[in-house]
Amino acid sequence: MERDVNINFFRPVGEFMTKDVSMKKLILVIWFVSTYGFLFLLKLVADPAVTSQVTLTTGEVVTQVAGQSWLTETQFLGFPFHYWYSAQFCIALYIFLCWWYCKFIDKLEKEHSKK
């Protein structure tokens, strides 16, 4: 028997693993961008005129952009939008991602008659 039994996330073997891994990659990309991409966006659109003094652990006091922008000054359901996005929407998105993956993998396993 001369099959390749080496497992590597970036070189999947077999049809099942190939499909599974590409779905995993998709979900991980959405997960990462929705969490940290939003943080980056907040930084990107922040109004440079609004600053605050931050004391670093090193004792140094620096002035940095506080992050005020249309994302923080738009009201949504009463919330500053960015706060609602982080505290509520992201969590709901995580649940949806998990649900989506479970649906997908159940179906894939059925097709490949795995238990």
Partner: protein, 536 residues
Amino acid sequence: MKRLMQLGLTLFFMLVSSNLFAAVEDLNPEGKFKVIPALMMIALLVLFVLVGVFAKAQNTEDYWAAGRGVGQLGGGMAIASNWMSAASYLGMAGLIYLKGYFALSYVLGWTGGYVLLLVLMAGQVRRYGKYTAPDFIGDRYYSTTARLLSSLIVIVISFVYSVGQYKGIGMMFNWIFGINYQMSVFVGTGVVLAYVLISGMLGATKNMQVQYVVIVITFFLPLFFIAHKLGYFSAVPQIGYGAALWDIGHGGNGIAAASADPSYYLPFSNYTAYHWFALCITLMLGTAGLPHVIGRFYVVPRVSDARWQVVWGLFCIALVYWTAPCYAAFAKFSNLLGTAGVTIAPDAIVVNAAELAGLPEWFAGFLAAGGVSAAFSTVGGLLMAGASAFAHDIYFRVMNPNATEEKKMFIARAGTIILGVSIIIAALNPPALIAQITAVAFSLGANTFFPLFLLGLWWSRTTKEAAIAGMVVGLLVTFGSMFLPKASVLAYYIPFTSSAILGVPAVLITMIVVSLMTPEPSQEIKELLYKVHNDE
């Protein structure tokens, strides 16, 4: 022997009565015994024990055979109550109160990690078919040294995690019974130890579901009244607190625009974006690398159920995490209004929020009792995980493979008590806030177990030498970051709560380099791994 005991007792009373430990705020300076909260607390404990007694007949398999839908939701509730500790119930709101938007990284870190756990670990771990994390590591990395080292790490994680829980229990007992914090830690943990030793033999899963229901009810109910009292949309306070946030930052509803505090909601007013990112990613990776969380997947009969349990578990956790920021916001709002006469401690802000809003005492008592039960359910699981790592993975597998069942049981009990007592000593003088102490446990999980599971499952070339080197580097980074001088530049980039930002890449690189320099794992290991991903 007698003299030793006398000495110990003297030392004990000196410790308890001294003011050596002034770090924790006294929440109950008049030493008032609060009757209604105390009765609630006792009633809850009795309820848990009774449920355990009556659910005894129902074992794990009966439970899973009981029908898919119910089983998955029930399993999710068990995951959630095992997961949610004093850090979720008390600590998270405290940090949000102090640090505003920055602390949302705790909320996202402790939920987003489940996506990683599901996608990269849950199904594969279940298919690999081992019983504990050290069991998996010992087997996958064909090494007794790796097993030993990973068991020690399990014990250290349980230890650090529990210190935060004991602090929460101590503070709540202090608030309810009016005894000082140090005494409260002794009394509270004595109760937990007794509770673990009793309930450990009773129906655990059923009990965890009851605990989850208690956590949710106690956490939700007072909020409707707080929101109503402060004049916000109270039918769904999880939405209503949004307007309170807006008013905190801009003024309104009684707060003058001049005394508004925009730093509470602006994203980068107290901390940098880098620190937000570092903390959040550490908690996420730690979630996917905590041994007692991964452990929940081994006991499920079917792979599909293991995965669906994650979805339901995350949903049950989210209900509480959507709610925790409400307490922080309402407490902040009341505080800006200037309600006086309440001793505020960040780690008790949930209880303080009810007091600040001027609600009758039993609401706050409800929350205090819920906080204690959240801590109980987690400490129980942690003490058992730590003790079983000691009794099963170290003593039975390595030191004395011929041990009898009684001998093993004895070692496990002794392990629980030793662990419990050493945690008390650390909790007498807690080094940080509850959620921060817990974050250190997560850093350790992220720096050690996460890379070992990730590479172990997804790269068959990983060798045993790499596993050992990885764990050593992970331990060094985690504990190294705690001893960095606070004012150094390194401490700025690697805060002790978020050391995985450096640790995980360092460990992954170490493991890959060492693997490529050492001989490949055997064919059987590769065959087994191939089957995990691809059995026909």
